[in-house]
């Protein structure tokens, strides 16, 4: 089989929680050899969080959160407080092309793995450091937590139901945003290194990276003196534009799980198509609805009419009928919908590999395909320290006796 695009690229992964691991997941997806350095003395929080198989907690290898975002990586454990651990970390750095970390500002320096030291070890390294606030500026030592990075970015002030308080977006969105941008920056730096032989340091503030996602709001504020108002899922230029209730047949633990279909009408022609599909063809040319301006005056009424139609149908049926006619629509998917989505399954998106402790479970896969250098998830997420021996022996060149001695000294905790 053809090799993936980053075959032969080696990554020393000093990341944890989500933003950093999401970055190195991309590199693993692309075929890089990613060795994640963990510690038994301070286990990555995502190893401890739910979901677990059948919601039974226990151990550090059974979290779906960790197992989703660490597919295809190897794991070694080092105790940063043990005297010989740094020597192991340094050998790993010398082996690698890329070093990634997302500890708080200053932590890598205190571990003895600051950029100046790293580039002494290997001058052409590409080193990426992700921190919450960046490594300079008056707030550089502020504490950043995933969920708080969304309000900090400005997204919360722009997101919410009309007239309601600011809201979250449902996930620690600044993390994968930073991770994906970091992966891009690392690849751009690798491109430069392939051309010139030069490595470099990439400094990233998750906050600054997240501000990219509110650029439209910043522009509006500067252009009109006002920020966009929170307005639910409505859109200025598309009416209707939102989620509409659908028939739900799913009951879990005695609770009806609600179902929704997302419908957007981009122009008057799509409005006419929608009117046909919902059995109200007379609305197409009705001057009360035929133009965007008219529809904006009657948005509540229109949403009511559309909801009346959608609520009698399953979301997938409603979406298919609208798409058949040429109107943009989709199931507002919950995670069961996603997992069972015929389209995603036919495309082979999901990954199910045998994992030592959770068996075969579906995980989200790689969102791209490459014709000449196919990408695939080659192994499930590692058990904690699963590859310590293998990596120390085969990658870093320690003898069996040396590994045993390191273990006896507590360096591999």
């Amino acid at each position: 089989m053809d090799k993936p695009p980053l075959a032969g690229i080696k990554v020393a992964d000093f990341t944890w929680v989500w933003a950093g691991p999401y970055c190195t997941l991309q590199l693993a997806h692309l075929g890089a050899d990613v060795i994640r350095v963990e510690s038994k003395t301070r286990v990555c929080v995502t190893r401890l969080l739910p979901p677990w198989p059948e919601m039974k907690p226990g151990g550090v290898n059974r979290s779906g959160y960790f197992n989703q975002f660490n597919q295809g990586k190897r794991s070694i454990t080092l105790n940063p407080k043990a005297p010989n651990a740094i020597e192991v970390a340094e050998r790993l750095v010398k082996w690698s092309d890329v070093v990634v970390s997302n500890f708080a500002a200053g932590v890598m320096d205190r571990l003895g793995l600051g950029y100046e030291r790293l580039r002494q070890l290997k001058p052409d390294l590409v080193v990426a450091s992700l921190t919450g606030y960046g490594e300079s500026g008056p707030l550089k030592d502020y504490v950043a937590y995933g969920p708080a990075q969304v309000p900090l970015s400005g997204l919360s002030s722009l997101t919410g139901y009309a007239g309601w308080p600011p809201m979250h977006v449902g996930l620690s969105y600044a993390d994968p945003n930073a991770g994906a941008h970091a992966a891009f920056a690392i690849l751009a730096a690798l491109w430069h290194r392939e051309k010139t032989g030069e490595g470099q340091y990439i400094e990233m503030s998750q906050w600054e990276c997240a501000i990219q996602t509110v650029a439209e709001g910043l522009m509006e504020y500067q252009m009109t003196g006002k920020a966009p108002e929170r307005n639910g899922s409505r859109d200025r230029l598309m009416v209707p534009h939102g989620v509409f209730p659908a028939k739900s047949e799913l009951v879990l633990m005695g609770m009806q799980i609600d179902a929704w279909v997302t419908i957007t009408v981009a122009d008057d022609a799509q409005w006419a198509l929608l009117a046909q599909v919902i059995g109200r063809p007379e609305l197409a040319a009705d001057p009360r609805f035929a133009t965007l301006e008219a529809r904006r005056q009657r948005e509540d009424e229109i949403e009511g009419m559309v909801a009346e139609w959608t609520s009698q149908r399953r979301a997938a049926e409603a979406a298919a009928a609208l798409q058949e006619a040429g109107v943009a629509a989709a199931v507002c998917a919950n995670v069961k919908d996603l997992s069972e989505d015929p389209h995603l399954n036919e495309r082979g998106y999901f990954v199910e590999l045998d994992h030592g402790e959770v068996g075969r479970r579906k995980h989200a896969g790689i969102p791209w395909r490459m014709g000449a250098t196919p990408c695939a998830v080659r192994s499930p997420a590692p058990l904690l320290g699963q590859h310590s021996d293998e990596v120390l022996r085969a990658v870093l060149g320690y003898s069996a006796e040396e590994v045993a001695a390191l273990r006896a000294q507590g360096a591999l905790e």
Binding site: P5, W18, P51, W52, G64, Y65, N67, S136, G137, V143, Y145, A148, P151, S157, G160, Y161, L171, Y173, P176, H181, F184, L187, A188, A189, L190, E194, K195, Y201, I211, A215, G217, L218, M219, E220, Q222, P228, R236, M238, H241, G242, V243, L252, W260, T262, T264, A266, Q323, A328, C332, N334, K336, L338, H343, V358, K362, H363, P367, W368, R369, M370
Partner: protein, 401 residues
């Protein structure tokens, strides 16, 4: 100084966000990007706004101006054979062609990797499609919110404890931005691979799949536990909520017990904080209805900045609910020189977000504002492709450029 991607040549056929954002990431890192737009109307992002004074103008759309910095702009009707020929000539000189032409339109105009690789076997062609290039939904239409929903993100956002409130869109064009960022990284990987011996190739990116990949722990709930993450579930830990200050909103975030204890001290150790029902983070979540009204009056006496500073001084990770005004005025972001003012001949001076990542050797740079429609036609077609002026006139008259 040169950027990381100086020397890389990119052709972009972008409509709205995803391909344009991917190409912006490449351009801001130093690549030369030629953006191809339909003659007359241009990229629909030109009609999207926001606009100065809320008055539509194709050269003043805030979304377009943000997404298209550092690019050369040409017009070309790729649906016409003479237009498509010119596209092939542009692709022949490029390293990358990145686009989000909808799959049914690709079929109609014959835009395929097979044809482009004939013109340039070393080309990396990146196709961004809403649902990818295979499967039953291949030809489905999608706006940004369609994909945010189809990928599972919209279902996750709602109001804790309020199942009557529907799933909610996140502001802006988040599906497009994420799809663009992932397309940029996949494209770069193909380019790095090419320097290491791989041929040119086709990279395909699905917007729905990108969103399904960023759902935090939520996706795993179904395959691991047969559970569906719901938008209206109460938060399992508190405080983790929005509260109103004197002059705006703050996000209270006490994930660890020591953070809560420090926060209680910051509040002056009120008596109620010692109640058994608030004694750990799970209990505080279970009794948040009782706890929140006790904290609210104290929070309301403070200014956002003041409370943020007080909390952070005790290592409590509160964050302000930043507004567009507080972002632009932030001393921290100013000290880091984050926002970059770009002067645009039609839209005036506007502050753009600065680098998403800072390179020590190859600086990120906004070298020029977004192009006017067709601004670089003669430079690109005349100087680079060597078309004679008479041919350019004919193409323009025929409406091809």
């Amino acid at each position: 100084m040169a950027g990381a991607l100086t020397g890389l040549k990119v052709v972009e056929l972008g409509e709205m966000v995803p391909a344009a954002y991917a190409a912006k990431l490449l351009a801001d890192a130093g690549a030369e990007v030629i953006k191809v737009e339909p003659p007359g109307t241009g990229d629909p992002a030109r009609r999207r706004g926001p606009f100065p004074g809320a008055t539509p103008h194709p050269e003043r759309s805030g979304l377009f101006l943000f997404l298209n910095t550092n690019k050369l702009g040409v017009t070309l009707d790729v649906a016409r054979p003479e237009g498509f020929d010119l596209l092939l000539r542009l692709a022949a000189q490029a390293d990358v062609l990145i686009h989000n032409v909808a799959p049914p339109v690709m079929d109609r105009i014959g835009l395929s990797h097979a044809r482009l690789s004939e013109a340039n076997p070393r080309l990396v062609m990146t196709t961004i499609a809403p649902f990818g290039l295979s499967g039953p939904c291949r030809n489905w239409r999608a706006e940004d919110f369609t994909l945010w929903s189809a990928g599972g993100a919209a279902y996750l956002n709602g109001w804790p404890g309020r199942p009557d409130m529907p799933p909610l869109k996140t502001f802006g064009h988040q599906a497009g931005l994420q799809t663009g960022a992932h397309a940029a990284l996949a494209t770069m990987a193909a380019l790095v691979g090419r320097l290491r011996g791989a041929p040119g190739q086709h990279v395909e990116v699905s917007g729905q799949e990108v969103i399904a990949a960023i759902l935090e722990m939520n996706f795993a709930y179904w395959p691991y536990a047969g559970l569906v993450a719901a938008r209206y579930g109460q938060r399992p830990i508190q405080p983790l909520d929005f509260l109103e200050c004197r002059d705006g909103w703050i996000f209270l975030c006490c994930v660890e017990e020591h953070q809560w204890r420090a926060f209680v001290e910051v509040m002056g150790s009120p008596e109620w904080a010692g109640e058994e029902i608030f004694s750990d983070r799970l209990k505080r979540a279970a009794h948040w209805d009782a706890l929140k009204p006790l904290i609210e009056p104290w929070v309301r006496e403070h200014a956002v900045e003041e409370l943020y500073r007080k909390a952070q001084a005790r290592r409590i990770p509160f964050a302000p609910v930043s507004t567009m005004g507080t972002l632009l005025g932030s001393d921290h972001l100013k000290a880091r020189g984050f926002f970059v003012e770009v002067r645009h001949p039609e839209a005036g001076a506007l502050k753009h977000p600065g680098p998403p990542a800072r390179y020590s050797r190859t600086p990120w740079e906004l070298r020029m504002p977004a192009p006017a429609l067709g601004q670089h036609n003669s430079e690109v077609y005349g100087t680079r492709l060597g078309l004679p002026a008479s041919r350019l006139r004919d193409l323009a008259q025929a409406g091809a450029i």
